[in-house]
Symmetry: C2
Subunit: 556 residues, 2 copies
C-alpha cells in the first residue's frame, strides 16, 4: 500500500508511528506519566461504573431493551431503518421508528417515569420512558434513562404518539416518542466545558469571556472556538458553516455552467514574491519554500497555457499579524480567471452576475433559506435582511463616483483624487448606496494605478487609472480583481516602475509565462468566509470559519 | 480596502511593494544590474523592430487591416462576436467570422500569398492571406503575416471557404479561412524553449532529456514541467488537466446529491502529529506551525460536531523524500467522512458507488469522452481502455482473499497472514482481478490491525482485523479509508498501544473531540491526481498534475 493519499497510512504506521520523533525532556516524561496514570484511572473508573451498570442491567428482565449498543458484522439489527428526526413531524401516529440523536436533557419524574429531550440538528422531540410500557420496561431501565448524560448519543426505537398536551419546549410539538428500546451509541461526560444551548445566539461582542444576562449564559467566542465540536452542535453555528458549504457548491455550479475548468494550483512555491512580506516560510527538506499568498500567479499561468477559463476553491495564506474581526491568516478563496475577448468589463460583469447568482440562491433556494432562518431565529440581527436589486445587474460605480458620493455626504476624502478610501469610509459608502439603490451588494470600478499592484492593467484612455474593481457586501470588501497585464514588456516595465525585478528568482517563473504569448485576461478572488460573514451580518469572520487561524490561534 | 482576499492587494502594494525585503548581496546586485541591462536592451530591440514594422504598415494602403491590436474603452470593435474555432466545422460557407487563436505555423508561399495554421485547443484551421483579397490586402500585409512567430495569438476576421482540396494537416479539413483582417493580440518570440507539438504524446519513459525518433522530437517530462505554459497548450496535456477538472466537478456533484456538506479544514496546525515525521514545518510569526498531512482529523471533528456527512476538495501535504512516479509532496485530496448508522460497509459501499459514478461519467459523458479521445489519439496506450463492471456494485475482496489469489498465482505472500502485500504484488493482483472479473477498479476490505493506523476501528468479531479498506485502479492504490474509533477510551487505548500519547499537544485537540460524544463514522481520502493517472494509464503522476511539487521541484 502506498503512503498516499490518506494520512497516517499503513506504511507510515508500521515504520514510524511506534516512535515519537524527538526525545521528550524529563519533565515532559514525568508529566506524561502522570497524565497517563490519570487517564488510566479515569478509564478504569469509567469501566467500573459501566460494569456496575451492566451488572444491574443483567439482573433485569428488560436488560435486552437498553444499555450499550453493540455493533457486530454484519449489520445489527438487520434491516433496521433509521428515520431523520425532522421527518417525524410528517409521520403517522403509532408509527414505530428508530432514531439516533443527541440527548439534550433528561428528567426523572419518578421511579416509574423518565423524560428525555433528544435532538438532531435543529429538530428536537420529547421521549417518554414509562415502567411497564413498550415490551415491558423495568424500573432499572427508567432509572438508567433518567441518568443519561446530556450530549450522549442514543438510539431509540419507539412509537410516535400524540402527547396529552402540545409540547412547547421542543421543535416537534405535536408528537412525542414512546420509548421501547434505548441504546447508548456514544456517552458524554457529566461535565461539558461549554453548553451547546449557550452557543445558539450571537457571541458577546468584544468580550473574550462568557456573559450572563437574565440567567442565560452567552459563551464567548474564544471558548466557542476552543470547543468547536460542541459549539458547532448549536443549530445557528452549524447553519452558518452549512451556508459556507452552500456557497462553495453554488460557486462550483456556476463555474461549471460557464465552462470554467477547476484547477488545482500549488500552495508551495520555491521563492517568495514581494520580498517575503506577508508570506509564511516552510522548511522544505534541505531548503526553504513559501506558502503562496494567493493562487493568482497559477491562474494566470493556466491562462497563458490556453486554458481560457479557470477557477479554484482553496486555502489562501496570509502571514499578516492583524487581529481584526475580518482578517485571518488562512481563509478560503473562490478564484476565477478568464480570457478577455473584447473588453475587461466581460470579467467584471461575469463576477457581478456570479455574486448575484450566489446571493439570490441563498435567498430563494429552500435549503438555503431554511439555514438563514435558523440563524435569524437565534437572534442574529442582520440575518435574512440582505438587500439585492432585482435582475442580474449589479450597482456599479467608479472610484471617482464613490469619492464624490462620500464628499456629498460630508466625508473628508482628501484633495488628491487618487487617495484611497479608508475602511470607515467604505462602510459609510455601503450605507449611502444601500439607501440610494436598495442594495447591500455593489462594485467599484477604475481604481487609481497608485492603489493597485504591479500586474494590474492600466486604463487605455487614462493611464492614471486601472481596469480594476472591488466587490462589496454591506460596505465591506469581499473581492479584489482586475484585468492583468498580459504583455511581457509592459509587465516587466510595470514591475520595474514599482522597484521589483521581473527576472528575480521569485518572479522569473511568473514573468516567463507571458514571454511566450498570453491572451488578455482578468479575474478576481472572492473571500468565502467574508461572503458568509457579510451576507448574514456576522460581527466576526471567525464565526463564519470552521477552524479559524489567526496570529494567536492554531488549534483545534 | 482590505488586504484580503486578493494577493498583493492595494494596502500591501502601497506599503511594501516598493521595498524588496532583505538587502541583496553585491554579487546579486551586479547580476541584477546586468540582467536589467540585458532586459532593457531586449525590450528596446523589440520596440525598434515593432516601430519599423509599424512604419512599414503606416505607408501601406491596407494598414488598417493588420498590425498590433488596440483595446480601448469601451469595447472595440463594438459588437464583434468571436467564434470558437471548433464551431467553424458547422458554419455555412462564406460566413464572415472573427476568431482569436494561436499561430501554429506560417508559410510564405510567394510575395502574394501566405498561409497560416491557427489553432484553439485541439482545433486547427488553415488561414489564407492573398494579395488583393478581402478589402484590398497589400503585399506588405502578406509579408507581415508570413513573418508572424509561432505561438503568437492573432485575431482574424475572414470568410469561411471550401479549399481547392481537403486540407490534411489541420483538424478542420473541409474549410479554410480567407483572411480579411488580422491583428496581433500577443506576440511570441522567434525561439521557444520547447515546441507545443513535441509535447502532444507520452513523454519518453525515465529519460529526463528529449528523445528524437524518426525526426520527431519527444520533449522530456522535466522540460515539459519547466515550461508548463507551453506544454499545457498541447491538446493531450491540456485534456489530462481538463479531466482532473471533470473529476473535481463530478465529486462535488455526487457529494451534493448525497447531502454532504463541503467543509474547509485548516491546513496549518499548531502541533505535529506523529512526532513530526512527514510533516512540513512553518515559521508562524514567533512560533512554529505545521502543514497538516491530511484533513482527516478536521473531518472527524466536524462529525463529532454533528455535521453527519462532510467532504473536502483540497491540498494534502507530505514531507516525504520519495521520488517515485506516484508520489508528490503536494497533491489534491477528495475527502469524505460520514456517520455510520448500522454497519461500516455503508461507508465502503458509498465510496465504491462514488468511484463507479465518477469513472462511468468519464467514460460516458460526451465532454469527458471527447477529452479521453484526445489523450488516446496522442498515443497514450492505455487511455480509453479502463474496464468497469456493469451496474454500480464494485468487485470487493478481503485482504485474506487477496493474499489467497496471489498465492494461487504463484506469488510468495509469506507465512504470516497479517504480512502486507507489496507494491509489485498489488500490481500483479490488479492483473489477476482484471482477468477474472473484467474490471480495473476494485476494493480490498478487512486489513490486519498491524497494518493500519491507530484510529482504525477493529473488526468486532476478529480484533486482529480492522474495518478498513483500500481502493485500487489498475492495481494501484487510489484511496485508503476505514471506520474510525469514535469511543474516547478505546481511541486513547489504541494510541497508547502504538506508543502515542493521546494527551500530548499534537493529539489533545483531536482526542478531545471524542470525549464529548461522537457517533460511529468512517470515510476515506481519494487522490485526485492518481485517479486521473490510473484512469488514463499515465506513467507518471506529474503528468496528471498542473504544477507538481516533489522533493526537487518547487517551480513554476
Amino acid at each position: 500500500m502506498a503512503s498516499q493519499p490518506e494520512s497516517s497510512l499503513p506504511e507510515r504506521s508500521r515504520d514510524e508511528q511506534g516512535a515519537e520523533g524527538a526525545a521528550p525532556s524529563k519533565n515532559a516524561l514525568k508529566k506524561a506519566a502522570k497524565e497517563k496514570e490519570k487517564a488510566e484511572k479515569a478509564a478504569k473508573r469509567q469501566q467500573q461504573e459501566q460494569a456496575e451498570k451492566d451488572k444491574a442491567a443483567a439482573s433485569d428482565t428488560a436488560a435486552h431493551l437498553y444499555g450499550p449498543i453493540s455493533y457486530t458484522s454484519p449489520a445489527t439489527p438487520p434491516g433496521q431503518y433509521l428515520e431523520d428526526l425532522g421527518d417525524l413531524n410528517a409521520a403517522e401516529e403509532n408509527k414505530k421508528v428508530t432514531v439516533q440523536a443527541r440527548v439534550h436533557s433528561t428528567r426523572k419524574q419518578s421511579a416509574k417515569l423518565s423524560f428525555l429531550v433528544i435532538g438532531e440538528g435543529d429538530h428536537t422531540i420529547q421521549a417518554v420512558v414509562a415502567e411497564g410500557g413498550g415490551q415491558g420496561i423495568s424500573r432499572q431501565m427508567v432509572k438508567w434513562c433518567g441518568g443519561i448524560n446530556t450530549e450522549s448519543i442514543v438510539r431509540i426505537t419507539g412509537l410516535v404518539k400524540t402527547p396529552f398536551e402540545e409540547i412547547k419546549s421542543t421543535s416537534i410539538t405535536k408528537y412525542e416518542l414512546h420509548v421501547e428500546e434505548i441504546f447508548m451509541v456514544s456517552g458524554a461526560p457529566e461535565q461539558m466545558p461549554i453548553q451547546r444551548k449557550d452557543c445558539n445566539q450571537p457571541p458577546p461582542g468584544e468580550e473574550e469571556g462568557d456573559v450572563e444576562k437574565e440567567g442565560v449564559i452567552n459563551v464567548g467566542l474564544k471558548a466557542r472556538l476552543d470547543n468547536r465540536v460542541i459549539s458547532l452542535r448549536a443549530p445557528a453555528q452549524q447553519a452558518i458553516i452549512d451556508l459556507q458549504s452552500e456557497v462553495s457548491f453554488l460557486f462550483a455550479e456556476y463555474m461549471r455552467k460557464h465552462k470554467f475548468k477547476w484547477i488545482q494550483p500549488s500552495y508551495m512555491a520555491g521563492a517568495a514574491t514581494e520580498g517575503g512580506a506577508g508570506v509564511f516560510e516552510i522548511k522544505y527538506f534541505d531548503t526553504k519554500a513559501y506558502l503562496t499568498q494567493s493562487p493568482q500567479f497559477f491562474k494566470q499561468m493556466a491562462i497563458a497555457g490556453d486554458m481560457k477559463r479557470v477557477c479554484i476553491n482553496g486555502p489562501v495564506f496570509r502571514a499578516e499579524n492583524s487581529n481584526t474581526k475580518r482578517h485571518l491568516t488562512e481563509f478560503t478563496g473562490l478564484d476565477f480567471e478568464m480570457t478577455i475577448m473584447n473588453h475587461y468589463h466581460e470579467v467584471l460583469s461575469f463576477g457581478e452576475k456570479l455574486m448575484i447568482f450566489i446571493i439570490r440562491a441563498l435567498q430563494t433556494r429552500e435549503e438555503c433559506q431554511h439555514l438563514v432562518n435558523i440563524v435569524k431565529k437565534a437572534g442574529y440581527p442582520e440575518a435574512g435582511n440582505f438587500q439585492l436589486p432585482p435582475g442580474d445587474e449589479a450597482v456599479r460605480i467608479t472610484f471617482a463616483e464613490a469619492k464624490k458620493l462620500l464628499k456629498e455626504s460630508g466625508y473628508d476624502v482628501g484633495e488628491d483624487e487618487h487617495e484611497d478610501i479608508d475602511t470607515a469610509q467604505e462602510k459609510a459608502l455601503g450605507a449611502i448606496i444601500a439607501e440610494k439603490h436598495h442594495t447591500d451588494f455593489y462594485t467599484i470600478d477604475k481604481y487609481p494605478r497608485t492603489l493597485r499592484p504591479f500586474y494590474t492593467h492600466p486604463d487605455s484612455t487614462n493611464p492614471a487609472l486601472t481596469n480594476s474593481y472591488d466587490f462589496f457586501m454591506r460596505g465591506q470588501e469581499i473581492m479584489s480583481g482586475a484585468q492583468r497585464l498580459h504583455n511581457y514588456a509592459e509587465l516587466c516595465q510595470s514591475m520595474r516602475d514599482k522597484g521589483l525585478d521581473p527576472l528575480s528568482e521569485g518572479f522569473r517563473h511568473y514573468t516567463d509565462a507571458f514571454k511566450f504569448g498570453c491572451p488578455p485576461h482578468g479575474g478576481g478572488g472572492l473571500g468565502l468566509n467574508r461572503i458568509v460573514q457579510y451576507f448574514l451580518g456576522l460581527n466576526n469572520i471567525r464565526e463564519a470559519t470552521l477552524f479559524p487561524r489567526d496570529p494567536g490561534r492554531l488549534a483545534p
